[in-house]
């Protein structure tokens, strides 16, 4: 599954980062992108940051995911 969710890095502690992922806080592994900093936006897949992305892209992707989630709920 290629699903990857945008998230904002709010804290970094060793190999883990605390992120804000579409309203939820969770911890993700940053072994694949160890240079991430607080304030960066990342794409999260299976609990790991796989890519650092622009804020603009993060927000666009969030919108897209919300649209799709709503579409699924509506059964369209």
């Amino acid at each position: 599954m290629c699903l990857a969710i945008p998230a904002k890095v709010v804290a970094v502690n060793g190999w883990l980062a605390k992120v804000d992922m579409m309203g939820n806080q969770r911890e993700v592994g940053i072994q694949l992108n160890p240079e991430v900093q607080i304030g960066d936006y990342v794409l999260v897949h299976a609990g790991f940051a796989i890519e650092v992305i622009d804020e603009a892209i993060a927000l666009e992707t969030e919108e897209l995911l919300l649209e799709e989630a709503n579409a699924r709920e509506d059964g369209t």
């Binding site: 290629c2 160890p34 299976a46 609990g47 649209e67």
Partner: protein, 361 residues
């Protein structure tokens, strides 16, 4: 057209469709090889929006769907062991093996836990020292680096009760098998956005250079997919074949070098059997001998199974794009999302599941 599309996006979509129509004077078949693309196309009714000359078909893009029946029976064998806690991503829970599934085993008392991340599986191992935690490694190159990290972490911490059954597969060898197969009639490919974020585009270039098939690394929205289709048509009009990136905001040609290094450190390539496509050389990832202590296949001396596919299930032909789901005799009759026969229906991103949900008349 998705109803909730904003005005400006609708305008862009219509502009792409107009440009696509102008260039679609000859038939063109495009295959996508990513479960998330399968769903995005089905959910948004893109096949109906595109001109009749442009055919979008689904290929082997769902790692759950391409897991061979024999491999399913192998992990069910492990999951049934009383000392084992099986940790797995959610989409494997209902996949049927020859006789059982993880879900049915769980009903019989097996300890099966759905996890979101291998990091959760590592934590299970730390918290349950008297148990053996086996993680089911299913996924392509987007997921494989995360499993590599978990094995490397277990090795560093000397976490002896954690192991991984690696059923990981690689996308480029599957593309090669499809390009070389005379039964597969595809002109171009939509390439997987996040798998390519990891591996970059270099491993795909042979598709254009050796086989003359254009490929576009594509994002997951309607506009991304339409733009990619247009890029393919433009290549054809110019008589070119190349691997291009539509999903530029996320994918670099070099990919994620660190993630590639992690895969290389922990895994080695090996021949692997794909449901429907058979044995594909170098298409699997096996755990390296130096990490043998975290390789569930070695640790549990897992027997080899020779399991036949369920009778009447045409998942294999569907994965090659040879038939559509509704051409399978079981589709919607004996095989439904509630009672799936094969993985193409079980997986939330399987071709049959997508078709059942969005495309049935």
């Amino acid at each position: 057209m998705p109803e909730k599309m904003e005005h400006k996006d609708k305008a862009r979509a219509l502009a792409y469709l107009a440009a696509i129509s102008r260039l679609a004077d000859q038939p063109l078949t495009i295959m996508e090889v990513c479960g998330t693309h399968t769903m995005a196309i089905a959910q948004n009714g893109l096949r109906e929006l595109l001109p009749a000359n442009v055919r979008l078909i689904s290929g082997p893009g769902c790692p759950v769907c391409v897991t061979d029946n024999s491999d399913i029976d192998r992990f069910l064998f492990l999951a049934a062991k009383p000392e084992v806690i099986t940790a797995t991503f959610g989409d494997m829970i209902r996949v049927p093996g020859t006789k059982k599934s993880l879900q049915s085993l769980r009903a019989e008392g097996a300890d099966v836990r759905v996890v979101y991340s291998t990091l959760d599986a590592l934590e299970l191992a730390r918290k349950n020292p008297e148990k053996e935690i086996v993680f089911l490694g299913v996924g392509f190159e987007t997921t494989a680096p995360t499993i590599a990290v978990s094995i490397e972490t277990a090795s560093r911490e000397n976490l002896t009760n954690f192991s991984v059954l690696s059923l990981h597969k690689r996308v480029p060898p599957a593309l090669r098998a499809l390009a070389a197969d005379p039964e597969v009639q595809v002109d171009a490919f939509l390439d997987p956005g996040h798998a390519c974020a990891i591996i970059g585009t270099r491993p795909l270039e042979f598709m254009a250079e050796q086989y003359g098939k254009p490929g576009v690394v594509t994002g997951f929205g309607v506009l991304d997919i339409l733009e990619a289709v247009l890029m393919i048509l433009e290549q054809r009009a110019a008589g070119r074949a190349a691997i291009e990136i539509q999903y530029k905001k996320v994918v670099k040609a070099a990919g994620n070098v660190r993630a590639q290094a992690m895969i290389e450190q922990v895994f080695t390539t090996a021949d692997a059997s794909w449901r429907g496509l058979g044995l594909i050389p170098e298409s699997g990832l096996n755990i390296r001998p130096e990490y043998r202590a975290w390789d569930a296949a070695a640790k549990f001396a897992l027997p080899r199974f020779d399991s036949p596919s369920p009778s009447g299930c045409r998942c294999g032909d569907i994965l090659k794009g040879r038939i559509a789901p509704d051409e399978c005799g079981l589709f919607s009759a004996t095989c439904t999302p509630l009672q799936p026969v094969g993985p193409c229906m079980v997986s939330t991103e399987g071709t049959c599941a997508a078709y059942y949900r969005y495309a049935r008349k």
